[in-house]
């Protein structure tokens, strides 16, 4: 491998390393210093890589589109439980707690209402006497 080929390979390695560092949210400068290649060949492309990193960002498809397409593909409507499956674990736990808490409240309310009904019913004979 002659000198120019070696420089070519080093540049390829450097630009890949700089890109990987940026995409990982890390500082790319240590890679640039480590390779120590001619600034005239490095700097313009590193600037370009930084511009690409800023310009090419992920887009989110609409949730409605994603849900509808899945429904069309697998042929059944997604239930609340299906949607919960794809939420992060802590959201699932929070949802479970909310469900338990609301069930508890419903139970207490039901008992109170039924209890009140029984008390009213038991009052009637006393009043009649």
């Amino acid at each position: 491998m002659n000198h120019s080929e070696s420089l070519e390979v080093q540049l390829e390695n450097l630009f890949t390393a700089v890109t990987d560092a940026l995409l990982a949210g890390e500082n790319a400068n240590p890679e640039i210093y480590r390779y120590d290649l001619p600034a005239a060949q490095v700097d313009p492309l590193v600037r370009l890589i930084r511009r690409l990193h800023l310009a090419l960002v992920r887009q989110q498809p609409s949730e409605k589109f994603v849900r509808r397409l899945k429904q069309d593909l697998i042929g059944r409507k997604e239930t609340v439980f299906d949607r919960l499956r794809y939420l992060p674990a802590r959201v699932q736990i929070a949802a479970a707690f909310a469900l338990i808490a609301s069930s508890g409240v419903m139970l207490v309310l039901r008992r109170r209402l039924l209890g009140a009904g029984v008390e009213e019913h038991s009052d009637i004979p006393v009043l009649q006497q």
């Binding site: 390829e12 995409l23 492309l45 370009l48 887009q59 498809p61 069309d72 042929g75």
Partner: protein, 207 residues
Amino acid sequence: MNIFNRRPKKPDYKALSDTELAALAKEDKDAFGELYERYVKKIYNYIYYRTSNQHDAEDLTARVFYRAMSHIDGYTDQGVPFQAWLYRIAHNLVANWHRDRGRRKIIPLDEFVASSLRSESPDRHTEDEEEREHLMSAIRRLPPERQQLLLLKFVEHLSNAEIGDIMERTEGAIKSLYHRTLLALRDDLEKQPVLQNRPEPRDKKKG
């Protein structure tokens, strides 16, 4: 009647690999549903940047998954990961789309996207939109395989090895292609001043 005779429990799809899911998906639509969840956003992104508009990106994304579902019987992981297989379908459909419509080059990004880019982070907010459009136009002027490489790298954050699987090249070849792509893009940007790159208003009728 046996009331304890329940249906067999479904596997934990989340714990399965793509290859296992693809094998199950031949008979189990829910397994395909899990693959769909894993890749729908990636495929949408890839197509979005190749078509530059939301409507066509949604349409082609739907076609990719319909085609994948109808061909899943023939898929076996013989050195081609499921992800690579799916991207190849997307790549072919996008290539057909460009060929059919004969409009490979300049279509401004939707305002919808421009606003979502601005809201992504405060840093993005300050970046010059004109500069961005200049860069996007230069990317669209690149040959399709180079556009594909940039999108897989910057939007999907795939490694050179993963990109190699999709583009049927070695990791070293991808590294080299990436360098050449950067050089070509730099040269193109130097040749095209920012102001010349503004898209012409479309559908302007002559009076």
